[in-house]
Point group: C2
Chain length 163, copies 2
């Protein structure tokens, strides 16, 4: 049942959005509009991304956030680590009781198995960059022509392709 929180998905969305508005300072209000959430939620995310060195944020009037690195130098693994900072993916159960030889070292063994699984997952996330995501989403290269400032809406008529 338990899933990894949607913070990772939201954060990737945020960074892809910032990649699209390269060079501008984008407000949490604007971003929240695209991600369809509350500006405070975006600012909370932005705090984690800032701590991880993925974005720069400027407070005050005309402030906002922008990418701190090239989109091709930010992987989804970076994002995962920035916003989901737990060291272990799998929880272990309580310390086994008694002197049974199963309980004696089961947690050590499981730690190894789970760590390898977590590592394999992270390796896959590390192979995808924000530039990749941007390209797959828009069909455009990440460094292509910038849209006119503020222009985000499509010419209308193109229905969204949803998987």
């Amino acid at each position: 049942m338990s899933t990894i929180s949607s913070r990772v998905a939201m954060a990737v969305h945020v960074l892809a959005f910032l990649a699209r508005r390269r060079g501008e300072a984008v407000t949490s209000d604007t971003i929240a509009g695209s991600v369809n959430t509350n500006p405070v939620v975006v600012r909370r995310l932005m705090g984690s991304l800032r701590n991880a060195g993925l974005v720069q944020v400027q407070p005050g009037a005309r402030g906002g956030a922008q990418l701190a690195r090239e989109p091709q130098n930010i992987t989804v693994l970076d994002v995962y680590r920035a916003v989901e900072e737990k060291p272990d993916l799998f929880a272990l159960h309580a310390e086994p009781r008694g002197d049974c030889d199963i309980g004696g070292n089961i947690r050590g063994v499981l730690r190894g198995v789970f760590s390898r699984a977590h590592g394999a997952m992270q390796r896959e996330l590390g192979a995808v960059t924000i530039a990749d995501v941007f390209h797959d989403v828009t069909g455009r290269s990440c460094c292509g022509p910038q849209p006119a400032k503020g222009e985000c809406r499509q010419p209308a008529g193109r229905p969204h392709a949803e998987a």
Copy 2:
């Protein structure tokens, strides 16, 4: 923060314990004693493992659970799928708003990325069997000499090696 629940860890412990008591029907009370939890928690787990065809459970007096397959034919992936039946590891955020081209297909793209990561993790879990775990925990082969019935406590004096 969110982790995969300790059900997977507990279930692997349970199956390793059953591997040790091959051929016997072990009660939820006995298992709970080793795993250090409540018998009802064990029975809940056992329900999932039974549905997945990993154990056989007999109700009534002198009942209990035993493995339904050879330990080398049960992988940790089987256990994961049995007790943690969510289809997706990563949660997606709410449907993006507006006609922004980022929001248009971000969820489809993320679904692909996350699905590959989840697949890599499962591949790793599928490479480890209960027999492997049993061997790594006890230092003995899974089909080695059975301990005397009920004997689980060590001669005492051997401190637990804890990773």
